[in-house]
């Protein structure tokens, strides 16, 4: 750590950094920032920077009004979009109370605590997300809903090339930030994109997701378009998921790999998947935290509505991909429920906790789903024992409220806050009279 701090202070000097932004995340997953002058950085390392938490979601109660942000020097990066005029850097922060204990409401601390628990069991947790999002002409929308930048299929075919520039620019910036990516343009939705982040430990990945969202938004602004991670912005087109590949390592060994296992998945891997499935309904309020999230889950097509697993089954909630021979280190499982608007720190904490619970209690993996689950009839699904994920945020919150796993993992205060906050969202949503109701009811009633 100390070497890292050394490096940060040196770099600030050498590169003439003018501002340092301290980033942290609120309980909802929104990135917050405080900008400080380089002269203050040393003090922030030593003692933390006092911030007023009372205006931050999840920190709102009086007793967390006074918190300290401690920048994590390993996350130091110069922000590329600021250019060479007034170079600006950023670091992620851990939030503590004035007496030096991790602030209960800091999602990054929640993930750190969960990772530490996994480490106690001898595991390191790696993740690799595939983040989908839409590029829109603007955040304004008319009666037809938002307008994608292209109504055609491929990006490159769009004349004028703003989208092409977008891609080049975003990749460049992400790579400048040390995040290597793979871009792909979906045929599925107009203006929809997917970016895969490289495999990394879950804390780094979560930090990277937060950075990534910021970069994508910044570049979009630069290019005069609007990027959104909303789970389901367009009624007629697929939603934006954040399928995440996960694996556990014991030291240098991939604990999911067993050359003799079914799909080369080890016993630990099977139990991990069983844990994910067993607890999936109760963690959904966090992995899919908005009212809108449930419109993606239940939109059919490839959305994972049912608690199933399969091998190369694109309708399953958990997929066990086949690895190339001799690539045991890349053994992994893919959780397809997560959407792009989740708070990555909390979502990864819960996925890990659910999987670990499966290992700890030796859960049995149910039989594999070989059919396209969507194509089955309701009775067939019942007969096969395929349970649905919660149908709405309200249902998801009810399941979460009874979950010891979620309470234990998030800590009492974040747990409580998420419930309160999301209940409010549900109430506000329910209070509306929607165009749907008006158009289908008004004339006949």
């Amino acid at each position: 750590m100390d070497k890292q701090r050394d490096f940060v202070l040196r770099t600030i000097e050498e590169r003439g950094v003018k501002f340092v932004r301290l980033w942290f995340t609120d309980v909802v997953g929104t990135l917050k920032m405080v900008a400080i002058a380089p002269a203050e950085v040393e003090g922030a390392f030593a003692e933390g920077l006092g911030i007023d938490g009372s205006s931050i979601e999840g920190f709102t109660r009086a007793y967390e009004a006074d918190v300290l942000a401690h920048p994590d020097p390993t996350t130091f990066q110069i922000l590329p979009w600021r250019g060479d005029v007034d170079p600006t850097a950023r670091m992620f922060c851990d939030i503590t109370t004035p007496d030096g204990q991790p602030a209960a409401a800091d999602p990054r601390q929640v993930l750190k605590r969960t990772l530490a628990k996994a480490a106690d069991a001898g595991f390191t947790f790696y993740t690799h997300p595939e983040i989908e999002f839409y590029l829109l002409k603007s955040s304004k929308f008319g009666p037809e809903g938002p307008q994608p930048v292209d109504s055609a299929g491929y990006f490159d075919n769009v004349p004028g090339g703003s989208a092409h520039d977008f891609r080049r620019r975003a990749v460049r910036m992400l790579e400048d930030l040390g995040i290597s990516v793979e871009f792909s343009h979906h045929e599925a939705g107009p203006g929809q994109n997917e970016i895969d982040l490289r495999y990394a430990d879950a804390l780094t990945t979560a930090d990277n997701i937060q950075t990534f969202r910021t970069v994508v938004k910044e570049v979009a602004i630069e290019q005069g378009v609007y990027a959104t991670f909303m789970p389901k912005p367009l009624e007629k087109h697929p939603g934006s998921g954040m399928h995440t590949h996960m694996s556990l390592f014991e030291g240098d060994t991939n604990a999911f790999f067993d050359p003799g296992g079914q799909y080369q998945l080890s016993q630990i891997g099977r139990q991990f998947v069983a844990g994910l499935l067993h607890h999936a309904p109760e963690i959904t309020a966090v992995t899919n935290q908005f009212v809108n999230s449930y419109k993606r889950i239940w939109s059919g097509d490839e959305a994972p509505s049912y608690v199933t697993w399969g091998h190369n089954n694109r309708s399953a909630l958990v997929r066990v991909p086949l690895y190339k021979p001799g690539k045991g280190q890349s053994a992994r499982v893919e959780y397809r429920g997560l959407d792009s608007a989740a708070n990555p720190y909390l979502a990864y904490s819960l996925l890990l906790a659910a999987g670990l619970k499966g290992i700890e209690n030796g859960y049995e993996l149910p039989p594999e789903a070989e059919d396209t689950v969507w194509a089955l009839s309701e009775s067939e699904r019942r007969a096969l024992g395929y349970k649905g994920l919660p149908a709405s945020l309200d249902r998801a919150l009810g399941l979460m409220e009874d979950s010891e796993l979620v309470a234990e993992t998030l800590g009492e205060q974040v747990f409580n806050y998420v419930l309160l906050n999301k209940r409010r969202e549900w109430r506000e949503y329910r209070a509306q009279v929607t165009p749907y109701e008006l158009s289908s009811n008004l004339e006949i009633l």
Binding site: M1, D2, K3, R5, D6, L9, E42, E47, R61, A62, Y63, E64, T97, P98, D99, Q101, P102, A104, D402, A407, G411, E412, Q413, F415, N416
Partner: protein, 978 residues
């Protein structure tokens, strides 16, 4: 030539042999062996051996295998004496001699004193001159051990091992430095870089820890830090690269396995950034690190730094950079926490089964002395460079010399330190192993005892050691706390006097927030010629130490001063301070933990006496309290104000007793509830006796309700009551008389110091109803109008004070209401509805439901309502449910199978934690608290009262929130769901 008497068993026993038979047959056999006469001829030399049997066996083995090497020694009694000394005390050195019999020659000459640093250095470096590889390592290690052999012989043969000990520590450190130099010499030849560049790499090895302080053990890790500078012709980066190779190769020569076993571990983990940091740094890099990043403990470690090998100029350069920084560390933020951390490290991490055999750690161990000495150095060395000594003995002497500690104490603890070190040396010498544990085996203890030269039997050594341990345990108090007094009072028995700045620095270091004020209190407590001042001069040092362990040392000291002023020369107080350290410790602990108790002590200073005796702390039974009340009332007949005052005093006194009992764990929270309820009952009984004149034509009674009725009061709870009367001749005036009694009760029970709120809000019609009713009126009301909530309130009704017959009749009325034969779904729904309304209305605006102790999610009121609904529905057929106690009814309900025992357990846990937090909050602040505090300091103080370790604010918060959440789940399912 056999001139000695026959080796009888008696003689062998006198010499100290243990296995006499085996020794005799060995000796007899040797007698018959040509050339072995030298062994048996001087049998009396064996009396000098720590373990004569082992010495004899060792000699026999040498004779068997290396007779030629041994032969010359056999002719020389002085030489033999040293061989026998070494063989008897050290298995490890015995094996060395078997491996390297030529080294026997090293014992030929008597060492006058351990050799000089440079002599050792030259000799060991010379031994490896020109050598590389296994040859070099072998030469290095054998030469090191030759000197170790000589040193051990000198040490063991010394008349006064306590005097010899410092010289041994120096010599061992010098030998370590010399070996590192030799290792470095080998590394320079082997490292594979161009010679010119190697020559230009100026590597210094800095000794840390005991090696740096020149007080090394026979066998311990040698802590080092490496620094490098580039000489002519190479760049710094290259010097660091070469230096890193040299450093790791140097360590290998010392510690890697080889033909001759390794010497010790070279430990470089104290370097900047620890294990993850670069092994070797340039001076600039060290400077940058220590100026910007190093933590306080790293400066404490640098206290001992000393160049021990390699380039001396670079080593001095390192010191020039680091030493000024060391002494600023007590000025840094967080110093107090660091000191507490140091103390925790001193006391923690000792396996329980080792505590009594640990020479180094544990109470009264070496670490205690080192901690105290270092702390004093850090506090005072900042302003006074004379105390900046590396070694513990030097520091003790300097601290005494400069007047920071008493000379007598310094001399005493210097002796203790040496004794412990000599024991430790002998333990390590035995097997040449890194141990600090006294063997449990009596035979081995005897060997260690004989090896020290301080005792001839195990018992003798152990009792010396015990005495020393006891003395060392009081060391911290004597050296750190006691001199604080000298800043403000002249101590007759001592010369030293701290300045007030020095004393304040010490007080701040242990957690006093306002050291200046604290010093004033100390001055007041110890000034003057009174007996009390004299006794407090003796005891205050340790009291300060106890206060400093509490949540609020400043307030604790203030309260102590007030108490002491109030008690003055009271005989028992002085005796308690003087004789009973248990009571004095309890007193200090409660004063630093509770403002509530501090305030009560101002009124009832004599309560301090109870701390001596758990029986005094135990709450007095109700009957005794009532006896006292009656006597009080009788004594003050005709003067109600005087009587009321006496009753108030008694109530405060008994409340204090209960508070103390709760804090020192004589009673638990349930017993606390009963005790406080009894105190209230006695108080009300007395007040009623004054308010209600005998023969005024009415009967009158007070019925306890709510938590008071359930005998579950906490500190700061209101007492819920209802009043009832019955006409006994007053006729129409009866109601007026009763009304007057109630008014008078209110006046008589007013107490601004310790408020006693009588809350009659649970009466029929609540605050809208008449404050007192006749029994008939109650009966009529309940029969006609009774609302469900009133029946529910009656569940906890219990006679408290007043006419017994009337109370009993009232309870009959109550029973019919509260244990109804039918309690239908409509009534149950009504209870639920009211509860739901209470939840939304009574909780104060902006209060966080999760943290409200009474009305919050899963806290007291949830549990109580849950239990009461069960009682209303089932008490009629389940008599065990008929109890005013919430926990009692809950247990009965679980027994009756009305709820799963796991649910009952969750509710109980929530009720207990909420009750305990409420009482603890009151004890801590002296004010009632309805919410779990948010402030970390408050939480920490409350957590301590709940027996959490210090710094458990977050833990308590999490426990509270989890426990109440789980209770709320039970509540939601069992109460609201039908």
């Amino acid at each position: 030539m056999n001139s000695r008497p026959a080796s009888t068993l008696t003689l062998l026993a006198r010499l100290g042999f243990d296995d006499l038979g085996a020794a005799k047959s060995t000796i007899d056999a040797l007698d018959a062996t040509p050339g072995a006469g030298g062994i048996t001829e001087h049998l009396d030399l064996f009396s000098l051996a720590a373990d004569p049997d082992r010495a004899l066996r060792g000699l026999q083995s040498l004779l068997d295998r290396h007779a030629d090497a041994l032969a010359p020694a056999l002719e020389d009694p002085s030489w033999m004496r040293r061989i026998i000394r070494v063989l008897g005390a050290s298995e490890g050195l015995g094996q060395f001699l078997l491996r390297r019999p030529d080294e026997l020659a090293a014992l030929r000459e008597q060492l006058g004193e351990p050799r000089d640093t440079e002599v050792y250095r030259r000799d060991i470096v010379e031994a490896v001159a020109g050598l590389t590889g296994e040859d070099a390592r072998l030469a290095l290690r054998v030469r090191y051990r030759r000197h170790l052999l000589q040193l051990a012989a000198w040490d063991l043969d010394h008349d006064d091992p306590l005097t010899a000990m410092p010289a041994v520590g120096c010599a061992l450190a010098d030998l370590a430095g010399a070996s590192l130099d030799a290792g470095l010499d080998i590394a320079r030849r082997e490292c594979g870089f161009p010679d010119a560049q190697v020559a230009a790499t100026r590597l210094a090895i800095i000794g840390m820890g005991k090696c740096g302080a020149r007080e090394l053990n026979y066998l311990s890790d040698v802590d080092v830090i490496y620094a490098v500078e580039a000489g002519d012709g190479i760049e710094t980066g290259r010097a660091v690269e070469i230096g890193t190779r040299l450093a790791s190769m140097t360590a290998r020569s010392i510690q890697e396995p080889g033909i001759e076993p390794p010497l010790w571990e070279v430990d470089a983990n104290l370097r900047p950034e620890g294990k993850d940091g670069a092994l070797v740094r340039s001076l600039d890099s060290h400077r940058a690190y220590y100026e910007r990043w190093a933590k306080n403990w790293e400066f404490q470690a640098l206290l001992k730094a000393r160049p021990i090998a390699g380039d001396p100029e670079v080593g001095e350069g390192f010191l020039a950079i680091t030493q000024p920084l060391v002494w600023e560390s007590s000025q840094r933020d967080g110093f107090v926490e660091q000191v507490q951390g140091m103390r925790e490290r001193v006391t923690a991490h000792i396996p329980a089964d080792e505590v009594d055999v640990q020479v180094k750690l544990g109470p009264g161990g070496l670490r205690d002395i080192e901690f105290t000495v270092q702390l004093l150095q850090l506090v005072h060395g900042n302003h006074d460079d004379r105390v900046r000594q590396r070694d513990s003995l030097g520091a003790l002497a300097a601290l005494a010399e400069c007047g920071y500690i008493g000379r007598a104490e310094a001399a005493e603890f210097s002796g203790d330190y040496r004794l412990l070190r000599v024991i430790e040396h002998r333990l390590q010498l035995d097997r040449l192993s890194r141990t600090h544990l006294m063997p449990r085996d009596a035979d081995r203890q005897r060997v260690i005892a004989r090896a020290t030269g301080l005792a001839s039997s195990a018992e003798e050594l152990l009792s010396q050691w015990q005495r020393t341990k006891l003395a060392v345990r009081s060391l911290h108090e004597k050296l750190f706390y006691r001199p604080l007094l000298s800043a403000v009072a002249k101590l007759p028995d001592e010369q030293l006097a701290l300045t007030s700045d020095q004393a304040e620095a010490r007080l701040a270091a242990i957690g006093f927030v306002d050291p200046e004020r604290a010093l004033q209190h100390i001055a007041a407590l110890t000034g003057g010629v009174s007996r009390r001042a004299a006794i407090q001069r003796t005891l205050l040092p340790v009291i300060l130490q106890w206060l400093a362990d509490g949540a609020d040392p400043d307030h604790g000291l203030l309260s102590f001063r007030r108490l002491s002023d109030a008690l003055g020369e009271t005989y028992w107080f002085l005796r308690m301070l003087r004789d009973s350290s248990g009571a004095a410790q309890r007193l200090s602990t409660v004063l630093a933990a509770s403002h509530f108790v501090g305030a009560l002590f101002e009124r009832i200073p004599e309560g301090a006496a109870w701390l001596e005796d758990d029986d005094e702390l135990r709450p007095r039974p109700l009957a005794a309290l009532l006896d006292e009340v009656r006597a009080t009332v009788a004594r003050h007949t005709g003067d109600d104000d005087a009587a009321a005052k006496a009753l108030r005093v008694a109530r405060r006194r008994e409340t204090l007793r209960v508070a103390l009992a709760a804090m020192v764990d004589v009673i638990d929270v349930q017993q606390l509830g009963v005790a406080l309820s009894d105190v209230t009952t006695a108080y009300l009984t007395g007040a009623l006796a004054l308010a209600h004149t005998y023969g005024d034509g009415v009967e009158f009674a007070i019925i306890a309700m709510g938590r008071y009725g359930g005998a579950e009061l906490g500190f700061g709870s209101d007492a819920d009551v209802i009043y009832v009367f019955r006409d006994a001749g007053a006729g129409d005036r009866a109601a007026t008389v009763a009304q007057r009694i109630v008014t008078r009760l209110g006046q008589l029970t007013e107490d601004l110091r310790l408020p006693c709120e009588l809350d009659a809000g649970l009466r029929p019609e609540g605050r809208n109803g008449p404050i007192v009713r006749s029994l008939d009126s109650y009966r009529a009301y309940y029969e006609r109008w009774s609302l469900t909530w009133e029946a529910q309130a009656l569940l906890r009704a219990r006679p408290a004070a007043g006419d017994g017959a009337l109370s009993a009749d009232f309870m009959d009325v109550a029973d019919a209401v509260r244990y109804p034969s039918t309690f239908g779904e409509a009534e149950a729904r009504e209870v639920r509805r009211i509860k739901a309304r209470v939840e939304s209305e009574r909780l104060p605006q902006a209060a966080d439901p999760a943290r409200h102790l009474k009305l919050g999610r899963g806290s007291l009121s949830d549990v109580e309502w849950f239990v009461q609904l069960l009682q209303l529905r089932h008490a009629h057929e389940e008599p065990a449910l008929r109890t005013p106690s919430t926990l009692g009814a809950l247990a009965a309900a679980a027994d009756a199978g009305l709820l799963p025992s796991r649910d009952a357990e969750r509710l109980r846990a929530a009720w207990l934690i909420a009750s305990r937090v409420r009482s603890a909050a009151m004890l801590w602040t002296g004010r009632t608290a309805d919410v779990l505090p948010a402030d970390r300091r408050q939480l920490d103080a409350i957590a301590r009262l709940l027996a959490y370790p210090p710094k458990s604010a977050a833990l308590l918060e999490e426990d509270y929130l989890r426990t109440t959440r789980l209770a709320r789940q039970v509540f939601e399912k069992g109460f609201y769901a039908t």
